[in-house]
Amino acid sequence: MTTFLRRVAVAAALAAAFCGHADAAPSEQFFPLATYRVGAYASSGIPVWAGMIDYLRYINEVEGGINGVKLVWQECETEWTAEKGIECYERFKKGLNGAPVAIYHPNGAPAAYALSDKAAADRIPLITLGYGRTEATDGAVFPHNFPVMLTFYSEASAVINYIAQREGGFAKLKGKKIATVYHDSAYGRETQGPLKLLAEKYGFENIQIPVADPGNEQSSQWRQVRQAKPDWVFLRTWGVSTPVAIKTAARFGFPADHIIGDIWASSNEDVLPAGDAGKGYLALTPYPGGADFDIHKRIKTHILDKGRSDLKDPKSFGSVYYNSGLVNAAIAVEAIRAGQKKFGNRPLTGDEGRWGLEHLNLDDARLKEIGFLGLMQRLQLSCSDHEGGGSVRVQQWDGKSWKLITDWVSSDRKTLRPLIDAKSAAYAREKGLVPRNCARES
C-alpha cells in the first residue's frame, strides 16, 4: 500500500511538473537560458553559462536588478540541436510564472535558424553573437534577429584591416598572398564573398583552401599552403579542426604567428590541445580572454569570492568562453535598460525588448561604467543596423594564456553593406516579405 501511495505521489508530482506553472503578477524579468551541458559541445558551453549566470547574479545581488527589476532565469538543455532548441523556446516563450521574456539567446546556429521565423511570429528578439545569418544585419527585413557585434563579413574585413596594419598600410597589400583555410561548411564558406570583394579592392591574392569535416587530418591542405607560400593564413576552422590545423602548420613549417584564427578558433580550448605548436598563434575575437577587466574584479569580489559562482573550474574565470557569456548577458541587460527608458522600470515584453535593442547605445563612458571597457566594443544598434560594432581585438597565445596585442580593429562595413543588402533582399523575395521602413521607425 505504501509503495502504491508513493507511486501515486510521484506520478502526481511528475504530472504537475508537466502541466506547467501558476501565474503571478510580473515583477521580475525572465531570462531564459537555452544551454548545452551535455553533447559534443558541452565543454565550450559550460563556461559560457557560468559567465552569463554570474553576471545575472551580479546584477541581481549587487545592483539590485535592472533599475529594481530582478532577473529570474531557468535552464533548458538543447544539446546544440535545432529540435531541442525549439522545445526550449516553446517552453520559455510565454515567460516563467508571469515574468515575461524580453530577449532570447538561441545559443547555437541550428536553433537560431529554426527559431528565426517562430520568433518573428511571437515578436521575440533573438541575439546571435558571432553566428547566425549575416544578412540579418538588415533589420528592415529581419526585425527580430540581432547578429550583434560581429558578423562573418565584418570578421573577414577586420582580418584584412589587421593585416594591412601589420604590413604598413593598404597599399602594401597589393601582391600579397592571403590564404583562408576553412571548414568546408556553410560557416566556413561564408567569408568567400567578402574576401573576393576585398581582394579586388586591395589587389591581394585570395587563396581558399577547404578542410572537410571533421578535419582531423590536414596534411594535404597544409602541403597546399606550403606550395602557395602565403604571407598570412586566415584560419576559419571549428572544433577539432583548429588544434589539428595549428599542429599540422607547425609540421609543415608555417609560422604560428602568421596564422590568424577567427572567432570560433580563438578560445583556450582551441589552442591548448596543440601544445607548443600554438605558441605565437594569433586570433581575433569580439570578446577577448583575460581576467583583468574591471567587471572581473567586481564579479570576483561579489560573486566568486563568496562562493556564489556557477563556475566549476575556477581556472576558466576570464577564459574566452566565460567572457563571451559575460558579454552576451551584458548586451541583453543593457538592451532591457534601454527599453526601460521608454516603457518604464518594469519587466519588458519581447516587443519592448526589441525596441530596447534597436536603441541600444553603448559608448565608452557607458562601457566604463558597467566595467566592460576593453572587453566589449562600442555598440550602437538601430532599425537598419542590427550588427552595430564590427570590431575585433587580436590576441596572441603565449603558451599559457591569451595576450591582447591590439586595440579594437574595426572593419570596413560600408564596403560590404551592398553585399548584405543584396542577400537580405533576396531573402525577402524568397519569403515574400515586405521590409519595414526604417525611416519611419522611432
Binding site: I46, Y113, R189, G432
Partner: protein, 354 residues
C-alpha cells in the same frame, strides 16, 4: 451431411464468400476525431510545435524504415539521407516551380527520394545483412555531402540552410502551428492508411516472405531482387515525405546537418523499440524516443531544478533514458507494441490468472 462438415473441408462452391466481416475500427476512428478536431482547440503552441508535430513526423519516418526493415527484412542506416533528399527536393520544387501546390510538391519530393532509394537499393540484389547496412551507411554520408557541397540545392544561401518558401493550401496560409499540425496529421494519417493496406496486399506478403527466407521466396516464384529494390523505393518515399515535413512543418528550416547519421540511428531505435514489422509500433516507438526525454527534462527541472547542478540533472536524464531503453528491451525484445499487446491480453482476463 452436417456431421461430416467438421471432418472434411467444405467444398469450394460452399465456402463463404466473405472471410471475416471487417470490424469497424472504432478506437482508431475516435483517436482520429480527437486528433483532427479536439487537439487543435485544446493544445497550445508548446504542445503543437514542440511535441505533437515532431512526434508525428518521426512516426512517419519510422514507418518508412519499418516497411524496409521490419517487413522486407533489409537493414538500413541511411534513413536520414533519404529524408534529406525529400526535404531538398520538395524545397527545389516549391522554389523553382512556384505554380505547384504544396501537396504536389510534397509528392514530387517523395518521388525523387523514392528514385534515389531505388538506386541505393540496387546493391541489395547481391548483399545482405551487415554488408547491406554498410552500403546504406555510404548512402547516408554521400547524400549529406551532396547537400553541403553543391550550393544549388540550398539556392546559394550563404548559411547553407533551406527555409520553407511558403506553406499555403488552396490559398489558405498554413504556416501557423495549427496549420502545420493539421498538414502533418493529414499526411501521416493518409500514408499510414496506405501502409496498412500495402503490408496486407500481395506486395507486403511478398516482402514478408523475402524477410523470412529469401531462397524459399524465390522458389515459390517471387522476384526477390525486384521486390527488394521496390522496398527501398517505397521506404524512401515515406522517408522523403517525412524529411520534407521535418524541414518545413516542424523546424521551418533545414540543412544537411539536420539529417545526419544520428537522425538515422534515432529512426532505427524507433522501430527497434516500437516493434519491427508493425505499423502501430512506429507511433509507440516515436513517442518513447521523442517524448520521454522531454518529460524527463520537465520532471528534472520541476523536482530538482535549482537545488542540483544543471549539468548533473542533464546527465541523470540521459542515464534514466538509457536504463529505460535497456529495461524495456530486456523485458520484451520484440518492442513496446508487443509489450502492450501482452498487457492487453492480461487485462482481458484480469483479475483472474491461469
Amino acid at each position: 451431411m452436417s456431421n461430416l462438415s467438421h471432418q472434411l473441408p467444405a467444398p469450394f462452391e460452399h465456402a463463404p464468400l466473405a472471410l471475416v466481416p471487417r470490424a469497424i475500427p472504432w478506437g482508431a476512428a475516435a483517436l482520429l476525431i480527437v486528433a483532427f478536431a479536439g487537439v487543435p482547440w485544446l493544445a497550445g503552441d508548446y504542445w503543437l510545435n514542440a511535441i505533437l508535430i515532431p512526434f508525428l513526423v518521426l512516426s512517419l519516418a519510422g514507418l518508412g524504415l519499418n516497411l524496409l526493415t521490419g517487413y522486407a527484412g533489409q537493414t538500413s542506416v541511411g534513413s536520414a539521407g533519404f529524408m534529406a533528399v525529400g526535404a531538398f527536393a520538395t524545397y527545389a520544387f516549391l522554389l523553382r516551380v512556384p505554380v505547384l501546390p504544396l501537396p504536389v510538391a510534397l509528392l514530387a519530393g517523395g518521388a525523387v527520394a523514392a528514385a534515389v532509394g531505388f538506386v541505393f537499393g540496387i546493391p541489395s540484389n547481391r548483399i545482405k545483412g551487415f554488408y547491406l547496412m554498410a552500403t546504406t551507411l555510404a548512402a547516408q554520408f554521400f547524400l549529406e555531402w551532396v547537400f553541403t557541397k553543391f550550393p544549388w540545392f540550398y539556392n546559394h544561401a550563404s548559411s547553407g540552410t533551406i527555409a520553407a518558401p511558403r506553406l499555403a493550401l488552396f490559398g489558405h496560409d498554413i504556416s501557423g502551428p495549427v496549420g502545420r499540425y493539421l498538414l502533418t496529421l493529414s499526411v501521416v494519417t493518409l500514408l499510414t492508411w496506405v501502409a496498412r493496406n500495402l503490408v496486407g496486399s500481395r506486395l507486403g506478403r511478398n516482402w514478408m516472405a523475402i524477410r523470412d527466407m529469401d531462397t524459399a521466396a524465390a522458389v515459390i516464384g517471387i522476384d526477390v531482387d525486384h521486390h527488394k529494390r521496390l522496398a527501398f523505393a517505397v521506404s524512401s518515399f515515406y522517408l522523403g515525405i517525412a524529411g520534407a515535413l521535418w524541414a518545413f512543418a516542424y523546424l521551418g528550416t533545414a540543412s544537411a546537418s539536420s539529417f545526419d547519421i544520428n537522425r538515422s540511428f534515432q529512426i532505427l531505435f524507433i522501430i527497434i523499440i516500437g516493434g519491427m514489422g508493425s505499423v502501430a509500433g512506429n507511433f509507440i516507438g516515436a513517442a518513447f524516443i521523442s517524448l520521454l526525454p522531454i518529460f524527463l527534462s520537465q520532471a528534472g527541472q520541476a523536482l530538482l531544478g535549482g537545488n542540483v547542478d544543471p549539468g548533473q540533472i542533464q546527465n541523470l536524464q540521459k542515464i534514466i533514458f538509457g536504463a529505460l531503453i535497456i529495461t524495456f528491451l530486456v523485458k520484451e525484445p520484440e518492442g513496446l507494441v508487443r509489450l502492450l499487446a501482452g498487457l492487453r491480453e492480461r487485462l482481458a482476463v484480469w483479475p483472474l490468472r491461469f
